[in-house]
């Protein structure tokens, strides 16, 4: 039983039932005591007031005779002995009941428990007996009559308990709702409009404390990655120049194939470091003031930059979209990184002589950017995974770092949208799409 709600409900209802049983039992006990006293009194009264109806000593057995009518219901057994100890009986069963000493007795006789009262009067001895079951059934009846309304109340009590429990648990539900609705990247402390009950305030406080520390740790890590990448960039660029220079001077003493390989590896390292830096910046969102920017101009620059790579590989790289400025609210550094990574990716995965389209569209719900390549696409089962950091497709070609698409995703998230990937339906190739960029008017 995991839920506090169910635990509370079960315990409360079970507790109420047990309490009702205990109450019933004690009511029964009290009622029985009261009944005992009453019946004892009745026995005594009957014994004392038994008239001397016949002096002939004949037993008066007729149940309904004379004034005894009311006594039959109470199953009274009356015996009488005259002064000479000759027994005179009042009903049949009484014939075999022995004579006891005066006073009250509990006596088992003829498989029945009896309450017996005997009294020695001047001219006779009278003994009155009654089955104890009579008083028991009266007590049970009384107890049941008092308890009955309680059983009717049980459903009402269950409903009430349900209501109280959900009402009491409301702050907890509110907190778990608010935690579950948070985006995974948000590490800001929880805050609530309503005052938090003291019982969970401690929990919320420690959670907030944890979030704050986590936030600091994550921020420190991002700063570290950004700094490391930034510091690595210059030496790597210098190394590359040095290598090229040495190669030009034939100072390496190695054949040119080895030198080319070295440079290829170095370029990959430089690319990786640049992407790490981009990712750290995208994560930190540093310098990310949202401005009105012309995404067409920005795209033209990126496409222009990559047109050299495209030209040397015979790839037809082009921009498709409406003429003239296309203004959106955005962070130009972030969107540049986004575009650079999408175009870079598309070119990497497009064979020489292929085509890459960068498409800008004005849509009813914002500006959409698409990069469409003519590569081999991504297998359906990998589409979800490729935005994971350092994930490289199982049949990945080229020298990707596996960071490009996560950079794109991060930037897209900061622009309140996301990256969607789908394979082309008309031929092989991939469509990378970032839609819903907020349009701006100049």
């Amino acid at each position: 039983m995991k839920s506090i709600r169910w635990r509370l409900i079960v315990w409360l209802v079970a507790g109420l039932v047990v309490l009702a049983l205990i109450a019933g039992y004690s009511l029964y006990r009290t009622a029985r005591n009261e009944a005992s006293e009453l019946f004892d009194y009745e026995l005594r009264t009957v014994a004392l007031s038994l008239p001397v109806t016949s002096e002939d000593g004949a037993p008066t057995d007729a149940p309904g005779s004379a004034d005894w009518g009311g006594l039959a219901e109470d199953r009274l057994v009356i015996q009488r002995w005259d002064g000479n100890n000759i027994a005179q009986y009042h009903n049949e069963v009484a014939r075999s009941m022995p004579r006891l000493t005066p006073g009250f007795h509990d006596k088992e006789w003829d498989e029945t428990h009896w309450r017996v009262y005997g009294i020695q009067l001047p001219d006779r001895y009278v003994q009155v007996a009654q089955p104890i079951a009579v008083r028991d059934s009266l007590a049970v009846g009384m107890a049941l009559k008092i308890i009955a309304p309680l059983w009717v109340l049980v459903p009402a009590i269950v409903l009430f308990v349900l209501w109280v429990v959900s009402k009491g648990l409301q702050p907890i539900s509110a907190i778990s709702r608010s935690v579950s609705q948070r985006s995974y990247e948000s590490l800001t402390p929880l805050s609530f409009d309503q005052p938090i009950p003291s019982e969970i305030a401690a929990l919320v406080n420690s959670l907030n404390d944890l979030l704050t520390r986590l936030d600091q740790a994550v921020a420190a890590q991002r700063v570290f990655v950004a700094n490391a990448a930034h510091e690595l960039r210059s030496p790597l660029a210098a190394l590359k120049l040095q290598l090229q220079h040495a190669n030009q001077q034939h100072a390496l003493g190695a054949d040119s194939a080895i030198a080319a390989k070295l440079e290829g590896r170095l370029n990959r390292l430089i690319h990786l470091v640049q992407q790490l830096l981009d990712l750290a910046r995208a994560d930190a969102g540093q310098g990310n003031t949202m401005n009105v920017i012309d995404i067409r101009a920005l795209t033209e620059q990126v496409v222009g930059d990559y047109s050299f790579t495209a030209e040397s590989r015979g790839i037809d790289l082009g921009l498709v979209g409406p003429d003239g400025p296309l203004l959106v609210h955005g962070d130009s550094t972030g969107l540049t990184m986004l575009m650079v990574n999408l175009v870079d990716n598309a070119l990497r995965h497009t064979p020489d002589g292929g085509a890459v389209d960068v498409r800008l569209c004005r849509e009813p719900d914002g500006v959409a950017l698409e990069v469409i390549d003519s590569g081999c696409g991504i297998p359906r089962e990998e589409l979800e995974k490729v935005t994971t950091r350092f994930y490289r497709g199982t049949d990945a070609v080229g020298q990707g770092s596996g960071l490009g698409l996560s950079i794109v995703s991060r930037v897209a998230e900061r622009h309140h949208t996301r990256l969607t990937l789908e394979n082309r339906s008309d031929r092989t190739g991939l469509i990378a799409r970032v839609a819903h960029l907020t349009p701006a008017s100049s």
């Binding site: 030496p235 210098a238 496409v303 222009g304 082009g318 650079v340």
Partner: protein
């Protein structure tokens, strides 16, 4: 040729100096903006290699002051890939070309050669790109040493493209270069001129960047 290299990272500066020296140039090195200003004030350089992220004084600021004080030498900007805005600012402030870091040494050498042909002291610089040499003052174009005839608008178009051979010019930029204020420009005029120019110098020498514009093909 005498060059000034303005670069704050000694590792890069050292290699670039070595490479430029082995290419036969004399190189001075300024490690920050102030040193760059001093050097530019004291000596005449035929080419300036300017890194934009400089300590003490911003590279753009150095460039602006240099141009304001009458400096005419070509300036080649070295900039990081993620600083797109700097590049635009640099061109606006009077830079002649740019290279995105990390660049290839061959590429740098080629740009230096091309820019260096715009000699200081000449009335107008000479643009050289691959087999094409364009002299703006004499209004002549040589292709593989052979003079070719261009219409005035075609000449202006080629001059614009050769001015910054790494830049992709969009239609609006080219219209601004080719036409004065108030000129009526037909919707496909630029395409017509590009077509005419390509017929005369060879179609492969001008690259169409689909949806963006035109630029010079990479020099062979």
């Amino acid at each position: 040729m005498r060059l000034l290299l303005v670069e704050d990272d000694p590792m890069i500066a050292e290699t670039v100096q070595d490479a430029m020296r082995s290419a036969g140039h004399a190189v001075d090195w300024a490690a920050d903006g102030r040193a760059a200003e001093l050097s530019l004030g004291n000596a005449v350089y035929e080419l300036v290699l300017l890194d934009l992220g400089l300590p003490k004084q911003d590279g753009i600021e150095v460039l602006k002051r240099y141009r304001r004080s009458g400096g005419t030498s070509p300036v080649l900007i070295l900039t990081a890939r993620d600083a797109l805005a700097d590049r635009v600012q640099g061109l606006d402030a009077g830079a002649d070309d740019y290279l995105v870091k990390p660049f290839e040494l061959d590429e740098l050498a080629a740009r230096v050669r091309a820019l260096g042909r715009r000699r200081v002291g000449q009335a107008a610089p000479l643009y050289v790109h691959g087999a094409i040499t364009l002299d703006p003052s004499a209004h002549t174009v040589l292709l593989d040493g052979q003079s070719i005839d261009l219409l005035p608008r075609e000449f202006a178009l080629l001059a614009a493209l050769m001015e910054v051979p790494t830049h992709v010019f969009n239609r609006r930029e080219l219209e601004e270069k080719l036409y004065g204020w108030g000129d009526e420009v037909g919707s496909n005029t630029i395409e017509v001129h590009v077509h005419g120019l390509r017929r005369k110098i060879g179609a492969q020498r001008i690259v169409t960047v689909r949806g963006v514009g035109y630029r010079m093909a990479q020099a062979e």
